[in-house]
């Protein structure tokens, strides 16, 4: 077990290094650099100044030297300096992370919780109205582009029914009492969380409905029923535990997708999260920030996958080896 974990972690590190190198070369292929973007934004500038800036940013050096320097930095935990924000990349990402975590985690939890509930309920009465509704709603959620849904949600719940704010994570000025401040943030997070959750809820309800239907037909469920167990006990204790394995797998795998969904949702709702930071940095060709965010995203995904494997094993003792 321990050996397996170490092996996975080692593979993970190799993978992360690979991701960094790949991203580095991908970015080099993009036209223009941060100095181009800065000067273009300001309507031009002195060519000598541009040359000086490139030199001070180290952009005048050959690509492989830039890469080696960057890898060296990352190894000692330094993600570099943002030319556009005038701040270290690590500080920048950390200051944007809480918003993204709040959004993605609450959306993921909502999606898993309600998705599974919907799925289970639909599976118990597979021919009922609700089951059909879940199928249609899932398809809708699955097929809807997130920015479109966000826009519609904005128009309905911020303009026509002005119940929620249209932008930002907090009011200005913030309420004085910490409790009110928390409420204020939650109030701002309702629409974005709902938008993001709807998209992923679809997956969970479909998967859990299908796997629940599977499990409910199994022999051991019949055994459980003949033993005289109450129906809720059969469903929740015997069926759901097995049926939720695919859901857990999906939740782990989808973390990366939830993150990329958050990029769009945060942009639509003007949340100060990692998403808009990444987007802006791509437009500005602020490479250290892009690399830093992608590094963080890759690490999170890989760690999430390792954790999924472990949880999987814990939930299903039949799985002996996780490698």
């Amino acid at each position: 077990m321990m050996q397996a974990v170490i092996q996975r972690v080692f593979l993970g590190i190799v993978l992360i290094l690979g991701v960094i190198v790949l991203n580095f070369f991908l970015l080099q292929a993009a036209p223009g650099d941060v100095v181009d973007a800065m000067l273009a934004e300001a309507g031009g500038g002195d060519p000598e100044l541009a040359a000086r800036l490139r030199q001070s940013y180290g952009l005048d050096q050959p690509v492989y030297i830039q890469l080696i320097k960057y890898l060296g930095q990352v190894c000692i935990g330094d993600l570099g300096y943002s030319f556009y924000y005038d701040e270290p990349v690590a500080t920048l990402i950390l200051s944007h992370l809480p918003t993204t975590l709040m959004l993605t985690l609450s959306a993921l939890i909502l999606a898993v919780l309600f998705g599974t509930l919907f799925g289970v309920y639909a599976a118990i009465k597979p021919k009922g109205f609700f089951s059909n509704f879940v199928t249609v709603f899932s398809l809708f959620g699955y097929a809807t582009p997130v920015f479109w849904l966000g826009m519609i949600v904005l128009l309905v719940f911020a303009l026509y029914l002005p119940w929620f704010p249209a932008f930002g994570i907090r009011s200005i000025p913030e309420p004085d009492h910490p409790f009110d401040r928390a409420l204020d943030i939650i109030h701002h997070l309702v629409l974005p969380t709902f938008t993001l959750a709807v998209l992923f809820l679809a997956n969970y309800s479909r998967i859990s409905r299908a796997s629940m239907l599977d499990v409910l037909g199994a022999d051991y469920i019949r055994t459980a029923r003949t033993k005289g167990l109450s129906e809720p006990k059969v469903i929740l204790k015997h069926a759901l535990k097995n049926a939720s394995l695919p859901v857990v797998t999906l939740a782990g795998l989808q973390l990366a997708q939830v993150f990329s969904g958050a990029v769009l949702v945060e942009t639509v709702f003007s949340l100060p999260g990692v998403g808009p930071l990444l987007y802006e940095s791509i437009v500005r060709r602020d490479f250290p920030v892009i690399l830093g965010v992608l590094f963080g995203a890759a690490t999170t995904t890989i760690v999430a996958n390792i954790i999924t494997d472990l949880v999987y094993k814990w939930m299903d003792p039949r799985i002996q080896s996780i490698t």
């Binding site: 300001a42 031009g44 002195d46 005038d86 128009l155 911020a158 002005p162 639509v268 808009p276």
Partner: protein, 534 residues
């Protein structure tokens, strides 16, 4: 297909008589200023508070935190600010500035001649136009703490004009910025200390910046407002919801909406459209690659100018909110010659010029093909994509096939522009208030460089160079005007590029808010509410 639709749309629109100028005159100059109140400005991201940062919105904040040496008054004339008075020697090579004695930085330290000299030096080295603005500054004399004598290596016309906004010359405290070597990476940028009308009160990166009145500002009675909040909103739907619901009292139209939407928002009761009426302007231009055949032929360039009905771009595509350019200088520029009319729309002349130049129509009706690079959607389609498609349709009529090449983002376009890898390019150079800073750079021979916004069209004429040089070192404004009139005539004849339309800045402000739209439109210390605010 798309072009055809566009042309039909244009025809219908022009028949409907949309060619009116809906800009209203500047309202609200009357009405007594009320002291106090808050304004929320709809901003984009404010990544830093470094006064020399490249982002436009950063300059809008730091222009309130820092004071400049002089400023523009409501008649667009240079007026005292940190400098109470100044003298220029007859040779034009010595400037003496007398600083306001009561001027203090936010930390209580007085603003001295040392600080001013320090600021000149920092700007010279680190500002994007530092060299063009203050390059000729040679040495300083410090007769006393409030007087600075600046010696120039040669007379330099644009010096005072360049010092009219903190965006170009923020006067910075030497005792705070002076100790570190690398100005651009200083911690002081997190909480900048200036001598301007406002101080930073709160900032959350990528959310908002909030600034509050500097109670001990050295100008009596200013600022009027208590507080300005720069709120970052990214999504256009959210911006428009906020504007409708009075969550912002001030916004630039181009960050919120297309020209076609302005009319709709003008109907919102609490909003008022205010055009910028200051001295800094810009134009969208069609740059020709003057090195390449057939564009190295003056007649071809003129033919293209005759072939494009630019009034259609302004009146139909832009709903009348832009004006066709009449000169290499935008009409807002101090040195613009108002007698100039620019090129008329004349297909016969265009065809005749092309025939004369030796480019007859071939069997397919086309004479030759040119590519056109521009920044693609979604970046300001009104300024890039729409004019590009219109140009392609227009030039087709005179037998010039245009291959549209939309490029991704500023950086994508800048790379092609810098490599001179284009036939025609849609460019948006600002005039940076003075032609010696923002205009001559596009035409003079020694600025033909592999860098966007230099003379990438490759035009070179010794006489034009000479006139630009003379105008730059001429201290007398009337003599400068004569020289710039001359150069406008020559360039209009030579057509190194086609000046398509002047780009206005339009603002939506609350109708009870006076917005100073003159000068550099950054003097927000004189912005005020006309009625008392809750």
């Amino acid at each position: 297909m798309m072009l055809k639709r566009l042309i039909i749309k244009l025809a219908i629109a022009s028949m409907c008589g949309m060619m009116i100028l809906p800009m209203s005159a500047n309202q609200g100059k009357a009405g007594e200023p009320v002291t106090g109140g808050t304004v929320v400005y709809l901003s984009s991201k404010i990544p830093s508070l470094n006064p020399l940062h490249s982002a436009y919105e950063v300059g809008l904040v730091t222009s309130q935190i820092f004071a400049s040496l002089v400023r523009m008054d409501e008649n667009n004339e240079i007026a005292p600010y940190l400098a109470e008075s100044w003298e220029v020697s007859n040779s034009g090579k010595t400037y003496t500035f007398h600083l306001a004695k009561n001027a203090r930085f936010h930390d209580g330290q007085p603003v001295t001649s040392e600080d001013l000299a320090f600021s000149f030096d920092i700007v010279k080295e680190h500002h994007r136009f530092g060299n063009q603005m203050f390059g000729p500054i040679d040495s300083y004399e410090f007769p006393n703490a409030n007087t600075l004598i600046v010696h120039l290596s040669k007379p330099h016309g644009p010096l005072l004009l360049a010092a009219t906004t903190p965006r170009q010359l923020p006067v910075m405290p030497k005792h705070i910025y002076g100790s570190a070597d690398n100005f651009m990476k200083q911690d002081a940028h997190k909480n900048p200390v200036g001598s301007g009308p406002f101080v930073i009160s709160d900032r959350k990166t990528d959310e908002y910046v909030s600034i509050a009145r500097n109670d001990s500002h050295f100008v009596d009675g200013l600022p009027y407002l208590d507080k300005i909040i720069y709120q970052n909103v990214q999504d256009k739907t959210a911006k428009r919801i906020g504007l409708r619901k009075n969550q912002f009292q001030l916004a630039r139209t181009d960050s919120v909406m297309r020209f076609s939407d302005i009319k709709e928002f003008s109907k919102v009761e609490h909003l008022q459209l205010t055009p910028y009426e200051g001295i800094a302007g810009g134009a969208i231009v069609l740059e020709f690659n003057n090195r390449k055949e057939p564009l190295n032929n003056k007649a071809v360039r003129q033919a293209i100018a005759f072939a494009v009905d630019r009034s259609q771009i302004s009146n139909v595509l832009h709903g009348g909110y832009t004006l066709p350019s009449r000169s290499p200088l935008p009409a807002t520029n101090v040195f613009f010659n108002p007698k100039l009319k620019g090129y008329e729309f004349n297909l016969e002349k265009a065809n005749a010029l092309l025939e004369e130049a030796g480019y007859p129509k071939k069997s397919d009706g086309m004479r030759f093909e040119l590519n056109l690079i521009y920044i693609a959607q979604p970046f300001m389609p009104d300024f890039n994509t729409l004019p590009a498609e219109f140009l392609a349709a227009s030039l087709k009529k005179v037998g010039i096939k245009v291959k549209l090449e939309p490029l991704q983002g500023f950086a994508g376009w800048a790379e092609r522009s810098a490599a001179w890898d284009f036939d025609m390019s849609i460019n948006w150079p600002g005039d940076k208030t003075d032609p010696a800073i923002g205009v001559s750079r596009l035409y003079v021979c020694d600025n033909i460089k592999n860098q966007a916004y230099t003379n990438t069209s490759g035009y070179c004429d010794a006489e034009v160079d000479k006139i630009f040089e003379m105008a730059a070192v001429e201290p007398d404004i009337e003599k400068r005007r004569e020289l710039y009139y001359q150069v406008q005539d020559i360039l209009l004849e030579e057509m190194p590029m086609l000046w398509l339309f002047d780009t206005p800045s339009l603002f939506f402000n609350h109708k009870d808010l006076f917005f100073p739209s003159y000068g550099t439109a950054e003097n927000w210390d004189v912005m005020y509410w006309k009625t008392a605010q809750k």
